[in-house]
């Protein structure tokens, strides 16, 4: 755990607020753009705002142990509502602001909320539409009064009015302020600070209870890991109900006195980021993907000179950028060129994305394509990956500066221990961020937390030769081949999908002798290739069956097999045989979910003859399947597909792998 007097003294969020008001009093704490102008609150102003709100809430009857729902976009006053509730010993419960009322009802009911602090009329209406299901709800407090003036005010209060009554009470009775400080002093690190409901892909959401120690220590450790100081700033634009935002924009900000900027509206977040120029930034991979697409689209429209300049220096960046970033040796010529490129291309690009002041950016949540990842790093953006979950107060592993490998999620964070369970390959961890328990769900707590204090992540992975963790799949999805070696279909599919030619892949092998794959080519990328190489085709099916396309994909699969061979755990999952499907997998045909995830079982049934052909040694497979057209009519597509045999490589010992890198 942590040491040092300051941390042990300031072991809860409200205590940190008092400290920040004291030592960072005149430094900016929160910013928000309002009417087109950035407004700033210093830490001492935030302290005053929170105190007024807390006393006002106390007057309305909020007391220790109550739960307070917080619903809205990232707004400074909603963050203050967290602290105000916590200062009274109440427990904030943030909800996803875009949930519909019915989805909110479960969490509000389960968390037994007695107060709700909401952003505006939209959220207030949602809560009021389900109010009969919430017998414990006493008060509803809203930030933006627009549209709410006409509502009967009996149990509805404007946040500003609550603060005003708080200020008036404080002015009338100075003892209140003292009593408030005493309440804060009575708070313990082991008290529950927040309940975060995990969205959960299966079953009902679970309320993860985090203590003050979880949030404060995780925040402080993360600040230490990346050397954040009160000069650092970030933009809070991801849902407040998500643990990441809670730890980054709240835990880390309070622990380290960082500045948090809230965008004017969700739509303006990108523009606002450019204006703020944060030094710390988090985004899921798709955000980076969109940025890359936008840059590429705009470069396509640029003049010839600009385009040539961009292409040339992008080449330089690919060659030297990551090495420069990691402080590795780079030939002098490249270093000079990179410096020139930084002035002409990379700097302006970073500015365009709002990354001019960026020191650290993280991505997590899903696998990020290595090319995408390297693109940003080559431009001099210190993009890193981390691996975490709500139950860990985010941080399990992070990539340290200078040790960034695209396929891994990094090393255990400060004070974090991880181990891989024998057999299942499941990753377990111990850390200062380990959650207390699930609210009113001891059964789930018991199945997640082992008696000796380890937490099951539910993910399977392994630790590679560099001591970095690699996640391969959800533990329950990891299977076995007949020879007992690990078969990780999603891992292999994701790796295949990182190749631009591959749009979708389905890998089979559970309970079989070897792994095989169905592949969908990417019509955009392969079509582009066809155009450039004068390959004429009339349909997806024709292009998918083109011998040159087959060869191209074969090279990719071979590349993948070589790479898998270097990873001892998954070496058995190398693709022995594959075919390119004659039609694109489509949600209309039930082959994908509406969120574009592969429905493996359904596909296995539907294409059973193809799977049979993959395993019986035939060179050609044929099938006829029913398809649904966009207008709902049905038809059949028949096809003959060549099956390609691939070479597999012996699993390499870890030492050789290092040499290969």
């Amino acid at each position: 755990m942590i040491s040092g007097a300051s941390e042990t003294q300031h072991d809860t969020i409200p205590k940190l607020l008092l400290r920040n008001g004291d030592i960072y009093g005149s430094r900016p704490a929160f910013r928000e753009k309002d009417l087109g102008i950035w407004q700033t609150w210093t830490w001492s102003q935030v302290l005053e705002e929170v105190r007024a709100l807390a006393i006002g809430l106390q007057n309305l009857g909020l007391s220790r142990g109550d739960t307070v729902a917080i619903i809205g976009d990232n707004r400074p006053y909603l963050y203050w509502a967290f602290t105000a509730a916590q200062s009274l010993g109440a427990i904030p419960v943030p909800l996803y602001q875009d949930s519909v009322a019915d989805e909110m009802a479960y969490v509000l009911e389960h968390a037994e909320v007695s107060f709700a602090v909401v952003e505006d009329q939209e959220q207030a209406d949602k809560v009021m539409s389900i109010v009969e299901r919430l017998p414990r709800l006493k008060k509803l407090i809203y930030g933006d009064p627009r549209g709410l003036e006409d509502y009967d005010p009996a149990d509805l209060h404007a946040l500003r009015d609550v603060q005003r009554t708080g200020r008036e009470a404080l002015a009338a009775d100075p003892g209140l302020g003292k009593a408030w400080l005493d309440t804060i002093a009575a708070g313990k690190a082991s008290d529950v600070s927040v309940m975060l409901y995990t969205s959960g892909t299966t079953g009902r959401p679970k309320g993860v209870m985090l203590t003050h120690a979880n949030v404060v220590v995780s925040g402080a450790n993360a600040n230490k890991f990346d050397h954040f100081t009160p000069d650092d700033s970030m933009i809070a634009y991801l849902p407040m109900a998500w643990v990441g935002d809670h730890i980054f924009s709240y835990g880390q900000a309070f622990a380290g006195g960082l500045t948090v900027a809230c965008p004017e509206s969700p739509e303006t977040a990108t523009e606002d980021r450019r204006e703020i120029g944060p030094s710390y930034f988090f985004a899921p991979p798709r955000v980076f993907e969109n940025m890359l697409t936008q840059i590429m689209v705009r470069m396509e429209d640029a003049g010839a000179t600009k385009k040539a300049l961009f292409q040339y220096f992008l080449g330089v960046a690919r060659r030297a950028g990551e090495k420069v970033l990691d402080g590795k040796p780079v030939p002098l010529g490249d270093r000079l060129l990179y410096g020139l490129g930084d002035i002409l291309v990379y700097g302006p690009l970073r500015n365009r994305m709002g990354f001019s002041n960026l020191r650290v950016a993280y991505t997590a949540g899903e696998a990020i394509g290595p090319e995408l990842f390297s693109f940003f790093r080559a431009l001099g953006i210190n993009l890193k990956q981390l691996y975490g979950q709500t139950e860990a107060s985010v941080f399990i592993t992070l990539q340290p500066d200078g040790e960034v490998y695209p396929e891994t999620v990094g090393k255990p964070g400060p004070d974090v221990e991880i181990k891989i369970e024998e057999g299942s390959g499941e990753v377990l961890f111990k850390s200062p961020g380990v959650f207390l328990k699930y609210f009113k769900n001891d059964e789930a707590t018991a199945s997640t937390k082992t008696p000796d204090g380890w937490v099951r992540t539910g993910d399977a992975g392994f630790i590679d030769a560099n001591g970095h963790l690699r996640i391969i799949d959800r533990a329950k999805d990891v299977g076995r081949l007949n020879d007992g070696s690990v078969f990780a279909p999603k891992y292999v599919e994701n790796r295949l999908k990182f190749y631009p030619e591959v749009k979708e892949a389905v890998v089979f092998g559970q309970g079989r002798d070897f792994a095989t794959a169905f592949i969908n080519i990417d019509l955009v990328s392969v079509g582009n290739w066809a155009e450039r190489n004068n390959v004429i085709y009339a349909s997806y099916q024709e292009l998918a069956g083109h011998p040159e396309v087959l060869k191209m994909v074969e090279r990719r699969v071979d590349d993948l097999n070589r790479s898998l061979a270097s990873e001892p755990l998954v070496a058995g999952s190398q693709i022995r045989r594959f075919l390119i499907l004659h039609k694109e997998l489509d949600a209309d045909d039930g082959e994908l979910t509406r969120t574009q995830k592969v429905r493996r079982g359904f596909i296995a049934d539907r294409y059973a003859p193809l799977i049979k052909a993959l395993y019986d040694g035939s060179r050609i497979a044929s099938i006829s399947v029913e398809v649904t057209f966009e207008d709902g009519r049905k038809g059949r597509i028949e096809g003959e597909m060549a099956i390609i045999d691939m070479e597999t490589y012996p699993a390499a010992a870890p030492a050789i792998k290092e040499a290969a890198e």
């Binding site: 949602k126 919430l134 500003r160």
Partner: protein, 302 residues
């Protein structure tokens, strides 16, 4: 919060609305917060005296008679719809009201004063602003600049001051900018504040146009098919804005609209034109039942 965001939207009067919030739609409820639904107050309290009267107006272009002998009035604080089949003279009627056309016969009385022939410019200074059937914005200018253009009539500093910018002109611009920024906030168009409007989707352009009309702080707002070409969500948004403008700014609104659902939900009174003549006038319910209106819209069997 450091600024009072609700200032220009001070409540004037309230009423039950058809389009709008979940709370307004759901009926009786139990438990806490049960009285939180919108307070229902009689409509009469909101609607005041006659603001604008159209008396026996006829308008022709050469031999074409666009409007023949039409009379109706618009009361202060109401939402007044003008409907009718294509070519019924609705837009001509709006053009007469805002002074763009001058009728050959009849009279327009606005705020108790009989209107003489004048330029639309003067109609604007007298407190009438409008939006157009085909969005009429400055396509190359940003949303912000378009809306600032709506404040032009309220800017008092002359060209010299404006050119200098520094000093009083700057102070004036900041004041107007604040009004516009509040409208941007109200219309939820912050994200397109600096974008050229020509590039925006149609629904947003309509919203900007409404913003520009509102920037004039009109007493009477004329909307020519504010929801044409919009999808359902955009229509709901626009309805919400129209209701809020009417309720909270107390602006009187006259609108032409073809979506009958919207018209019947939004308006207090509806006037129906056909071939330039008034065939019905009354509350939405009265108009809906009027056989002449049904014939005009559905045709008559022969």
């Amino acid at each position: 919060m450091s600024t009072d965001t609700s200032m220009p939207l001070a409540p004037v009067a309230t009423r039950e609305v058809g389009v709008g919030t979940a709370a307004a739609r759901s009926g009786a409820r139990s438990g806490m917060l049960q009285n939180a639904a919108r307070a229902e107050r009689p409509r009469v309290s909101r609607v005041g005296d006659v603001l604008l009267a159209v008396e026996n107006v006829s308008l022709s272009f050469g031999g074409v008679r666009a409007i023949s002998d039409v009379s109706f009035d618009i009361r202060k604080g109401e939402i007044r719809a003008i409907i009718g089949p294509n070519g019924a003279g609705k837009t001509s009627m709006l053009n007469v009201i805002n002074g763009f056309y001058h009728p050959q016969q009849g009279a327009i009385t606005f705020k108790g004063e009989k209107r003489r022939e004048m330029r639309p410019y003067f109609a604007a200074t007298s407190g009438i602003s409008r939006t157009f059937q085909n969005v009429a914005l400055f396509k190359g200018m940003s949303t912000l600049d378009n809306m600032m253009a709506g404040r032009t009539l309220k800017m008092k500093r002359g060209l010299l001051w404006q050119a200098l910018r520094w000093g009083p002109a700057e102070e004036e611009e900041m004041r107007h900018r604040e009004v516009v920024e509040r409208l941007i906030d109200f219309l939820e168009i912050q994200h397109i504040r600096k974008q050229p409007v020509g590039k925006l989707p149609y629904g947003l352009q309509k919203r900007v146009e409404l913003g520009r009309a509102l920037a004039m702080e009109p007493e009477l707002l004329l909307l020519d098919e504010p929801m044409a070409g919009m999808n359902l969500e955009e229509k709901e948004d626009m309805s919400r804005f129209i209701i809020t403008v009417n309720q909270h700014l107390g602006t009187t609104i006259a609108l032409i609209e073809h979506d009958m659902g919207v018209v019947m939900d939004l308006s207090d009174r509806v006037v129906v034109l056909e071939y330039g003549r008034k065939i019905a006038d009354g509350t939405p319910d009265e108009v809906k039942r009027d056989p002449k209106v049904i014939d005009a819209y559905l045709g008559v069997s022969h």
